[in-house]
């Protein structure tokens, strides 16, 4: 079985028809191997819910909490998708991932390093549209993919 860990923006692209990368995200999903599995972490679960319910993001299409949970529920009921609890060693893995960036004032690195640590700990391939995150994954020996 091959596991993939989409970042929050990839989940958003799969969930919102107007996302600029919707077509790329769906082409990638449709080409998954038959044993491919997509995993939510708590971080990506809450992140997706927050974005879907934020007017500054979704504008006229902002969902209420019930509707956003409905989107999430539909995903985790999909046979290809599951929620993965936080691995026990995630704390140490996160610190390892953040070590090369320790001297930077870079709040973005916090989220990126957590995603990398989670993907590594679960043996999943991180899926992102963010080229910088993709490059960082490569430097840290974490499998990653950009949907094309």
């Amino acid at each position: 079985m091959t596991s993939f860990c989409p970042d929050v923006n990839v989940w958003l692209a799969l969930s919102v028809v107007q996302h600029v990368h919707k077509t790329r995200a769906w082409m990638w999903l449709k080409q998954l191997p038959s044993d491919g599995r997509l995993i939510f972490s708590r971080f990506t679960q809450l992140g997706l819910l927050r974005l879907l319910t934020t007017e500054g993001v979704m504008g006229d299409e902002a969902l209420n909490v019930r509707q956003a949970l409905g989107v999430y529920d539909a995903w985790v009921n999909d046979p290809r998708v599951e929620f993965h609890a936080e691995p026990r060693a995630i704390g140490a893995a996160f610190r390892d991932s953040a070590k090369p960036l320790a001297g930077l004032r870079a709040p973005k690195a916090i989220g990126d390093c957590y995603l990398l640590a989670f993907a590594k700990q679960t043996g999943a391939t991180l899926v992102t549209f963010d080229k910088a995150l993709y490059a960082l994954a490569g430097k840290q020996g974490c499998a990653a993919a950009i949907p094309h």
Binding site: D7, N9, S15, P79, A93, G111, D112
Partner: protein, 76 residues
């Protein structure tokens, strides 16, 4: 509560597991537990999502992302 158990694994398989664990930054234990879960848990019975569920064509907000994760909005 985890249960401790002892299983004899062929040398070659153990070497493969250890290499895979080092490669993916996880542990041999995690790989074994995952494999057992994959093999013996019941498959889920749900509907496949076939397209985006938010289908409205209303105007999106100014913070709608393109490539990067908007962490300032994701993290509380």
């Amino acid at each position: 509560m985890p249960v401790r158990t002892t299983v004899d694994i062929p040398d070659a398989l153990h070497d493969q597991l250890r290499a895979r664990a080092e490669q993916s930054g996880t542990s041999v234990r995690s790989l074994i537990v995952r494999a057992i879960e994959d093999a013996y848990t019941k498959p889920k019975k749900g509907k496949y999502v076939t397209g985006p569920m938010v289908k409205g064509r209303g105007k999106l907000g100014p913070r709608f992302p393109t490539d990067e994760n908007p962490y300032d909005l994701i993290l509380p």
